[in-house]
Amino acid sequence: MRPNQILETEAVVEERIFSVSEFLDFLNEILVPKKVVIQGEVGEKINNYPKYSFFNLLDKDGSLLKCFVWREVIDNLGVNIEPGMEIRVVGFPEVFKKRGELNFQVEKIELIGEGILKKQFEILKKKLEALGYFNPEIKKPIPKFCENIGVITSKIGRGALKDFLTHLGNFGFKIFFYETKVEGVFALEEIVTAINWFNQNMPNLDVLVLIRGGGDWESLKPFNSEEIVKVIFSSKIPIITGIGHEDDTTLADLAADLRASTPTAAAKILNESWNLAKINLPKLELNLNTLLKKVFDAVERKLTLIKNDLTLKVQKEIFSRKKEIANLGGNLNLRFKHYFRKFEFLEKNFSKNYFEIKKIIKNQKEKLKIILESLNENKNRWQKRLKEYLKQEEKKLLLASPYLKLKQGYTITEDQFGKIIKDPSKLKVSQEIITKFFKGQVVSKIKKIRR
């Protein structure tokens, strides 16, 4: 139920009788949706509990507002709230039913004064740096040629959008503009929503550009919060920031994937590669033509080289073969000549020898004939002489023969074995002996032996 609707039906209020609880609920229903920003000074008494704190917000005239804040809100602030501190609180009023007290539920605290803001900045920077949010390694690369660009900034104000658009070259960019506040208490929430919206609804954008014109340190507050760092960190689309003047580096700049010092610089960064491409494309084209020509030239050179080389090789081969053949021919000739000469020599030698051999054979033949003749002659002589010798020897033998002695009357005595007896001492009495005569023989028995 919306409180406005209830308020419009006043008749119901008159007729109805509330219980206390019902009335407080009724009040809260009206109060809670009223989100407001209140500026004041933090009072002396601050009650800190582990999960929440109570403090008073005061005015110079002594007006007092009891505030309730969750610990988380203070943690996000980076610094603790201290008595006397000038702050702005964002939240809504609510009656605590158990106490019947009006409390201001603080959703967000903003610090006031450059001194404390700088301090807050340094503390948050240190803390987020330690958590790795500014790590260069986790930064998403910006596409070289961005075409689809999401722009988050204010339409009014210091002309960030105008600066950005006028400096953006005409390269067919598609710009999707999401208007947010860039200053004040509600700026942060709107910027966070815008970044999330682009990520959810146009995740194919090349880049998000978060820009804002220059301003004092305090006006840059939305860009120096932990929330903006976290949302930039978690964005899937890369983010370029161009916030304030060149000297201002906000936490959002540190978290961004690329920091352009100003909205104009952001536009120039996006132009850069397109400008270069415009210059480089004709160069690349020319280059490619030259390169291809170079390749052709190289191939042609190579072909000529190969051709020359081949011709040279073939010529060389032919030459070497020719030489080889010539060599072989020469060699063969030489050999033939040598053999011919040898042959001639042999032939000559042979004919010379032939006659010599013939002569030798003839000589030998003649010699042989003489020898044979002399041999024949000798043979006849020797035969004659041998015959004569034999005749003489026969005569001698005839003269010496025992038969001749026997004829002359001698006898020969033999024992029964035919052995001629020359000495009778070996004979025995009554042994038979044979006595041979020239004509016949006698067998006798020994009677007596004389010695």
Binding site: F173, F177, W274, L281, L288, V295
Partner: protein, 68 residues
């Protein structure tokens, strides 16, 4: 939406790669011709894309956002 298919970044990168490729020693002629043709085609497309100079501006309407 046909131009969506053409990605300038990719095309430009490929052109640069082709140029680099040509710096090599020992280039095959067939491949060189293919690369050359591809390079020229991409250069033509990139030049055409550069001619589409007009930027488009669209504001995201808050009403539309709230309806979502």
């Amino acid at each position: 939406m046909s131009e969506e298919k053409f990605n300038f970044t990719k095309a430009y990168k490929e052109i640069e790669e082709i140029n680099e490729w040509f710096q090599r020693e020992d280039i095959d002629l067939d491949e060189a011709l293919k690369k050359y043709e591809r390079g020229m085609e991409l250069i033509k497309k990139c030049k055409e894309r550069l001619k589409q100079a007009e930027n488009k501006f669209e504001e995201i309407k808050k009403k539309y956002l709230k309806d979502e």
